[in-house]
Symmetry: C2
Subunit: 106 residues, 2 copies
Amino acid sequence: MRRDIFQAIADPTRRAIIALIAVQSMTPNALAENFHTSRQAISKHLRILTECELVKQEQQGREIYYQLEIKKLKEIDKWLEQYRRIWESQFDQLDKVLSTMKKQKK
Amino acid sequence: MRRDIFQAIADPTRRAIIALIAVQSMTPNALAENFHTSRQAISKHLRILTECELVKQEQQGREIYYQLEIKKLKEIDKWLEQYRRIWESQFDQLDKVLSTMKKQKK
DNA sequence: AATTTGTGAAACCGAAAGGTTGCACATATA
DNA sequence: TATATGTGCAACCTTTCGGTTTCACAAATT
């Protein structure tokens, strides 16, 4: 099944995983200690995150360190871009209103 | 069921709805014409978007215009903020590397 | 007043999500 | 070599998701 990044970040556990490995790479076991679910459940989330390239693996002996692929998050930023333009222009309009009110006060 | 904004934007149809009403408010019927699903399915999506306050209704006779609550999208932006800091600092590091290489070239 | 139009809600359905348990297998360690 | 440890994968289960169909009802139109 094809998963996209929006679906990936929809799950709160996955967002928490992202937050954790943003600080430093971690193994599935180490990650699982932070949640009230099984190690396998975390593994599944990591699989999904890997599938849409939000996460990279680095094998070290028998341990696998998962690392955040921060660049991928820029895709969300890019999607937001079109709306940021809108809310900033709305802000500009508010600015105009405010400055007009100031002038009138004078 | 409590829905959050991340779940709301996870569905591609809902993202398309958001994109449409970002341009101008629309009725469910008008929206549905843009998709290959029933009007009721769109209505369900609108319900979800309304629940997490991404969308506002404005009744006009028997028609209901749905309007994007653009402010709500800032929540995503806010979530991204912490990671933006990271990827920008990584970019800075890349900058340093590049300038070091330049110096060495000299 | 009768009919058409725009809408939301409920019941139902198949597929997907997220969890668990059990297993296989490679790598450390005794 | 035997055992412990770290991991992924598959089977299974329950809940949720996204869709459809059917209905109710208010507002517009005839």
